[in-house]
Amino acid sequence: MRTLVLAVVGIAVAAAVLLVRGPVLDAGQASSHREAPMIAEDPTADNTDLYAYRSPDAPNSLTVIANWIPAEDTAAGPNWYRFSERARYAVNIDRNGDAKADVIYRFRFKNRDGALFLGNTVQDYTVTRVASGRETIVAKGVTPPNNIGPRTTPNYRQLAQAGVFNLAGGGKVFAGQREDAFFADIGAIFDLVAIRKGTGNMGGGKDFFAGYAVHGIALQIPISQLDDRDHVVGVWASTERPQMKIRSYRTKSGVKRYSHEREWRQVSRLGNPLVNEVIIPTKLKDRWNSLSPATDAQFVQFYRQPLLAAVINQLYGLGIPETNRDDLVQVLLTGVPGLNNTGAKLADMLRVNLSIAPSANPNRLGVLGGDLAGFPNGRRLTDDVVDIAERAVAGKLLGHPAGDLLGDGVDGNDVPNLGMFPYEADPPSGFDNVKGQQKP
């Protein structure tokens, strides 16, 4: 019974995660009329994860790590990975609980010309800080190249560390390829029959994301620039692309003419982990991704009545509460009272209480494990959000017994984090590709 429950919850989460993170379908070639491939994926605009926490080695700063481009296969040359030159990347911070960004760190990237192998994965970038209606360039940086292998990109650790730059006015920034710090057992929980023995809350799963990379932006921002009386900030990452619109108009003589205009539009956002994947219905995902967290009240029904809880009960009769899930609304939309609440405004933001000191012994289950410095009070690289999400949906916060059993058996990342800025590990080199036949 427990195995089945684990599998169901696991599949739902795995499926949802892959919906956004999964590799891309091949597109068709055109026949005699125009047939643009019907792809919907936009990997370079796709937010995969967001972390925000006070790091023990930099307790006076808020560390924010935002990742894009799911499932980079570093051995998939000659198609390497870069941030988009034509998109605009942002880390947004709300200081007063109105779910509108008070401080934005905006990133634009530029490719370099040059030889295919080393040169062209290095990108120059500009960081613009937008606050109180003013835009200030606070850093100009350079990304390290993709980690191709020891001959093309030797001493990768040094190459990566050369990609750390200071922010004007205090703080640090890094942008470039990183090992995906996200961890989950997608493979086993997908396969109902061969679910790995002894997983669940007992460990022993396989990290599907091992060996894959992402493109990450890391920021370290002095808390003095963000803190105020209630100490809680809300963080989300987002990506914008220019909308190119055809506009028709009539001239004075009544002739119809066409023009075009450009305007930035948000195409992706991420605050709390797995919201896009698990909470928001497929049909609304495009719209949800285009909106500001300030408008999230319209989605509250999907938090209060999560599809996932209903599905588990329908199939396996566990009696998990399906409705009135105000516990989930608190965790994801308002913050938990006494911990990181930002008032009544419903908004999907990753909320961090800046007055809570980093934990000396972090618990992977964060607040559920009694560690107030972890998710959902911000999110650390080591917080096991898949297990936390499974348990939370299963009613852990309501004291439901299923809330202690669940988990995907992967309790930590396959490689250690750096222990220093930019924290996420160096990407696995393409040459040392360890995935073999596991490639999806």
Partner: protein
């Protein structure tokens, strides 16, 4: 990868764990299979359209409001050039899920081919407002190209190439379109650069081979052109590639080989028709261009235009009418074909021939030189005629 994609879509409607336990495929698996067959059919195996349709219909029978299946079937209908059926399916998808950007792409694609341009452009604008990205940029580019705005069309398509990210086929598609935009303005070197970029993005991408072959032919390098086009035909025996190969042989003075290819076009076409692909317009254009069965081809062109009243069909019908000596009626359709302001050297040339047929020689010369100024390489067969007539 297939399994993952299928799983990835599991959560879309309801989880169907029970289906997985049995041998019956899930809706997701059927949709996935159908879309893959559709892709394969498009690259030159028309029999797979039938398999694609069967799978997608089964999926829709299981879940009558499945957006992915509806979009897939709409796309399939469009591939078969059944654009009215495509529009009906796409509209259904749009009603089921108006916030899914791709439903607007599917609706707009059908509207374009039906010649309903204002509605199509408005639909593409809804798409780009909801979700700017590869799907919107590539369609906005096409709309701007139809409107004769080649520069902005190039801008939009280069945004599509960027948004393709690391997705080889999508990047190759955008690069090929950029190549064609450059070629249509007579810029051979720029076109070749884009086609080469397409090949780098997706090695063996057939349209890039075809594009490079056209550049080579435009430069008079027929051996290279023939070599490249033969590779395109081997990979993807679409009638238009076979016809082009025939043209290259003819230009290289190999009349017998050319004739063989031309005969093959008719045979392949019958194969498409047998698999439910309406090819009247394409075959009419080929036949009219090559002086084959002109009267029958005019009937085909009329039939095609009534099915698919786009400026493309207007243009083919105008050309077919002219070649059958019915130049008054041809002029009417030529004007329709050029009503959006599209910069298309072939359509300019056809207009010149119509004007000349109507005895308006000064007008005719203007259109011939417009065609040649825009793209002196617009047609291996007809550009020399235009040059003589413009002189």
């Amino acid at each position: 990868m297939a399994a993952i994609a299928a799983t990835a879509l599991l959560l879309g409607g309801a989880l169907r764990i029970d289906d997985r336990a049995s041998a019956a495929p899930t809706t997701r698996q059927l949709v996935r299979f159908g879309l893959r067959e559709l892709d394969a059919a498009r690259t030159g195996d028309p029999a797979r359209y039938v398999r694609a349709e069967r799978a997608l219909r089964r999926a829709l029978a299981a879940e009558p409001n499945d957006v992915q299946a509806l979009i897939g079937l709409a796309s399939l209908a469009n591939s078969r050039h059944q654009f009215r059926a495509g529009l009906a399916l796409a509209r259904r998808a749009q009603r089921v899920s108006p916030d899914t950007a791709l439903t607007h792409a599917a609706v707009g694609d059908s509207l374009i081919e039906l010649g309903r341009y204002d509605e199509a452009f408005a639909t593409f604008d809804r798409l780009s407002e909801l979700k700017p990205g590869f799907a919107s940029y590539s369609r906005t580019s096409y709309a701007l190209e139809l409107l004769g705005q080649v520069g902005p069309a190039i801008t939009a398509m280069s945004l599509a190439a960027d948004a393709a990210g690391g997705q080889g086929e999508a990047a190759a598609f955008a690069r090929v379109r950029l190549g064609k935009l450059q070629f249509s303005a007579g810029r051979l070197a720029a076109a070749a650069r884009e086609y080469r970029a397409a090949r780098r993005a997706a090695p063996g991408y057939v349209e890039a081979l075809d594009g490079l072959a056209h550049v080579a032919a435009a430069r008079g390098q027929f051996r290279t052109a023939i070599r490249l086009e033969r590779r395109a035909v081997e990979r993807s025996p679409l009638p238009q590639y076979v016809g082009v190969l025939g043209d290259f042989y003819r230009a290289a003075g190999k009349a017998r080989l050319a004739r063989e290819q031309y005969e093959l076009v008719g045979a392949i076409d019958r194969l498409y028709a047998a698999n439910g692909v309406a090819t009247d317009l394409e075959l009419a254009l080929f036949n009219v261009d090559h002086g084959i069965r002109l009267r029958e081809s005019l009937a085909r062109a009329r039939r095609a235009r009534s099915e698919r009243p786009s400026i493309e069909a207007d243009g083919v019908l105008a050309w077919a009418l002219m070649r059958n000596g019915r130049c008054g009626e041809a002029l009417r359709y030529s004007k329709r074909a050029l009503r959006l302001g599209t910069l298309d050297a072939s359509k300019f040339f056809h207009r010149g021939m119509i004007e000349r047929c109507l005895g308006r020689n000064a007008q005719a010369r203007l259109w011939f030189s417009r065609a040649l100024r825009l793209n002196p390489h617009f047609s291996l067969v007809w550009a020399p005629v235009a040059r003589r007539a413009a002189a």
